[in-house]
Symmetry: C2
């Protein structure tokens, strides 16, 4: 499943979240990751994120598509990280 994760997380927790997501996904912009995940990976990531964040103040949105081909992606300005190999 093609997945986009965007987050707004307190500075004291953001480094851990960022390091964790890098293990499975591609960093594409400040607070944005993309990646092709299996169902079990997606579930594991959701569970771990729930443990890593403060649910009372942090926010994570997970967008999931069955196929990355359903998505068009366009960049204006700088491409912070190249993902041409995955999209």
């Amino acid at each position: 499943m093609y997945t986009i994760i965007v987050y707004d997380i307190g500075t004291e927790r953001v480094t851990r979240v960022c390091h964790y997501l890098r293990r499975y996904m591609n960093w594409v912009q400040n607070s944005v990751f993309e990646g092709d995940l299996s169902v079990s990976q997606s579930k594991r990531i959701q569970n771990t994120l729930e443990e890593l964040i403060d649910k009372g103040s942090d926010s994570i949105i997970i967008y999931t598509l069955q196929s990355k081909h359903a998505l068009e992606r366009q960049i204006i300005g700088q491409e912070k990280a190249r993902t041409t190999n995955i999209l």
Copy 2:
């Protein structure tokens, strides 16, 4: 077309970009907007964003889907802005 816009923009320009996007889309999280746009709206927004940002340092990613039904959306932690009426 269902559109998600994520941006990483210098603080001196971010307020103008945010105010502009609010006219057409829903703010859902820090630096993230969502909305259903016509082709002409989408084109106009892209053109305006190109004028508003510094292309040498700012970055905007525009994700477009033909239908919002192709997208699943899940929130962990706080829902910064409610969009249940649009998704």
